[in-house]
């Protein structure tokens, strides 16, 4: 998993049927230098800007641009997406990254 900030949204009309209706976000991961000691002055914000390359992730938590989020990769991402499917449904969606939490607070001790 990684910590990142939502930078935007991606639209697509032609996609795999099981991915229909899925919201896709662009998330920029934080790197170590982006977060100073004692980061996170306000809820939902770390007080700094991430600098890494963008990652496209599925979103089931209604995150929006400017939100700090945690993104999971691989099977964990499909498990997160399948929480929105019918009980017992297999997470066979072509997704390998998903927002799994909207961050309230990051605490980095000095």
């Amino acid at each position: 998993m990684f910590l990142g900030r939502v930078a935007g949204t991606v639209w697509s009309t032609v996609k795999w049927p099981s991915a229909q209706g899925m919201k896709l976000l662009l998330v920029r991961p934080y790197r170590v230098g982006d977060l100073g000691p004692g980061a996170a002055p306000a809820p939902g914000a770390t007080g700094s800007e991430p600098t890494d390359d963008l990652v496209v992730c599925a979103d089931t938590l209604d995150a929006g641009p400017g939100d700090d989020v945690i993104v999971a990769f691989g099977h964990a991402a499909r498990v997160a997406v399948s929480e929105k499917l019918a009980p017992g449904a297999k997470p066979s969606v072509p997704i390998d990254a998903a927002v799994v939490a909207v961050v309230d607070r990051v605490e980095i001790p000095r």
């Binding site: 910590l3 170590v32 945690i70 691989g74 498990v79 799994v100 939490a101 309230d104």
Partner: protein, 91 residues
């Protein structure tokens, strides 16, 4: 797996149900020489690691085994990174 140092903790109220009750730590990855690579990972913690601790982080199915050791089926575990060990020394 990677080796890194715990630098902090992350809190989230709005999250996938599968993350409920998990402690999420920020780990700064280190390279073979012990230098920080700049990469940050968020890992689930079951070992009570603290800021400043050197740790190893397991990914993927390895992380699922850390969170549910010995389970026959852990495919529903929502976690792709977990603290697997608190490191005392490396040579």
């Amino acid at each position: 797996m990677i080796r890194g140092t715990v630098i902090g903790q992350v809190w989230a109220t709005r999250k996938a149900r599968g993350l409920d009750g998990q402690t999420l730590l920020l780990v700064a990855a280190r390279d073979a020489e012990g230098r920080a690579t700049g990469r940050l990972v968020v890992a689930s913690d079951t070992l009570d690691a603290r800021a400043g601790d050197d740790v190893t982080v397991a990914f993927g199915s390895g992380a699922r085994i850390v969170l549910r050791p010995g389970a026959a089926d852990n495919r529903d575990v929502l976690c792709d990174a977990a603290i697997a060990a608190i490191v005392e020394g490396a040579g």
